[in-house]
Amino acid sequence: MTNNNSTPVLEMIHVEKHFGGVHAIDDFSVKIEHGKIHGLIGPNGAGKTTIFNNITGIYAPDAGQILFNGTDITGTPPHRIAQIGIGRTFQNIRLFANMSVIDNVIIASNMDAKYNLPGALLHSGQYKEDEKKLREKAIDLLSVVGLQDKLDERANSLPYGHQRKLEIARAMALNPKLLLLDEPAAGMNAEESVELANFVRFIRERFDITILMIEHHMDVVTNLCDYCTVLNFGKTIAVGTPAEVKADPEVIRAYLGS
């Protein structure tokens, strides 16, 4: 699990995904180095979320290979992907709506709990110790995202911005090495977007992780990403730093110019 600098955290090689005749992703390749924030941008329907769903195992790619820290994870089911250290958030927030804020986070670290069924029924020492640890860890994470005062509130009673943060906290409870953020700034105004960008940067420093994010707001991308890939109709049309990408004539034509 060590990360020498030569192995990228995530590498996708010629990945393709078709839905009937639609090429949702066409020959997509990317390499993301440890500690970097990589942006995926493109108009609606460009295939960004499909790429996420291929990495996280919701879909299996029709062709190509996905490597995580050098291990082939192509077609691994979603719960395994989460267990090996890829956390994600969703474009349309998917929280455990009727559960408390803290339980939302505790669930994600359930696999840290080593107790077995008899232990749970008899409240063994291991059970008590594990449950206490999970709770402490959840409180820690929620303090990081600034929700430590809302532990027992129901997740769907939180304001929108807080729900986004809770979703990130939940993903972080997996102790991921790679975090996938699907439009974290969606529905936010300029001021909130700046705050979010600072927050994402802070998360990266605090947990030393690598981030792949889908984003529509060009200012967030410029502000935050080290590299980005621009997609249009499933095809990669530009790769580079935000500044390079912004100057690319094809990107301007497909996306920014419109």
């Binding site: 107790y115 069924l117 997996l174």
Partner: protein, 312 residues
């Protein structure tokens, strides 16, 4: 051993003046409580609907009956084996059907329940067929049933309030997100299914030991429906609600004995009304708590809520 148990029960009941009619009602309440608790874990906490739990009840009942009558197995062991056998069948069935989505799982459960009933009707040599299985020792006295119901509640409570229970609830809330935080939804669902089948088998075993005579027709689709409606009435996602629901659904027909022919009609009506006006069931996601009850009567809760709203 059964005699000893029954003697203790008899002296206990005479001490508190509980007559045999009342004992019978209490035993039926306990049996239903156990079956409904299993249903509650499956339907209330995992949001899987099974119309086949009467089938698991009959498996538990027949297994216990056959073990005690033909093989003279101790009744405690027989109940345990009967319940576990129901769980084993659920494990096998769930392994095949739980990969199906939503409604399809429900349909297979419905089919399974009917298959079991028909199977027990045809296997005359083993089960006595539609004529029934007589001569089961009377081990389900009131005291024993109450102990079983309390134990069942205790186990279900601890199960739900552990990582296993949390896994189930997360699947109920959002299966895609549950998978994305590392929960193997298929295995968690299967666990929930097995849990509910074990409870159904347990309830069925007690039922056999109470009536001392069982027929496949007692475990028909109507029984499965009754379990589901009771769970819905009690509240999806509340163990205490399920217990209260089971008590209500068992006791009310006794109180309104003269109208007992219209029982199913009232169930239907109750479910429609509850779904219309209180879709979360009597208890919803909340568990019964004395604190909240006191708060409700003293008006403290409302005040706290109002303050909370102002703060937000």
């Amino acid at each position: 051993m059964i005699e000893l148990f029954n003697n203790i029960n008899a002296s206990f009941c005479s001490l508190f003046g509980i007559n045999s009619y009342l004992q019978g009602v209490i035993i039926m309440v306990c049996i239903n409580v156990i079956a409904v608790l299993g249903m509650s874990v499956l339907t209330g906490f995992t949001r899987l609907f099974s119309f086949g739990n009467a089938g698991f009840m009959s498996i538990g009942a027949y297994a216990t009956a056959i073990l005690t009558v033909r093989y003279h197995v101790n009744f405690l062991l027989a109940i345990l084996l009967g319940a576990c056998f129901a769980g084993l069948i659920a494990f096998l069935l769930g392994s095949i059907t739980l990969r199906l989505k939503g409604d399809y799982f429900l349909i297979t459960c419905l089919g399974f329940g009917e298959c079991v009933r028909v199977l027990f009707n045809y296997t005359k040599n083993l089960t006595g067929g539609s004529a029934g299985f007589p001569g089961i020792p009377n081990f389900s006295n009131m005291l024993f049933s109450v102990i079983c119901a309390i134990l069942a509640f205790f186990i279900a409570w601890r199960f739900i309030h552990s990582k296993y229970g949390r896994n189930l609830v997360s699947i109920r809330e959002n299966e895609v997100a549950a998978e994305a935080v590392g929960i193997n939804a298929f295995r968690a669902k299967r666990m929930s299914f097995v849990f509910s089948a074990i409870y159904a088998g347990w309830a069925g075993a007690l039922y056999a030991g109470y009536l001392m005579y069982i027929v496949p027709a007692s475990f028909n689709l109507a029984k499965s429906c009754e379990l589901i409606t009771t769970t819905v009435i009690g509240g999806l996602g509340s163990l205490t609600g399920s217990v209260i629901g089971a008590i209500l659904v068992t006791v009310l027909p006794e109180v309104f004995r003269s109208m007992s022919n219209f029982r199913m009609l009232f169930y239907g009506l109750a479910v429609v009304l509850i779904i219309m006006f209180r879709p979360q069931g009597l208890y919803g996601y909340k568990e019964f708590s004395l604190k909240r009850l006191i708060g409700f009567f003293t008006g403290k809760n409302k005040k706290a809520k109002a303050e909370g709203k102002e703060g937000a």
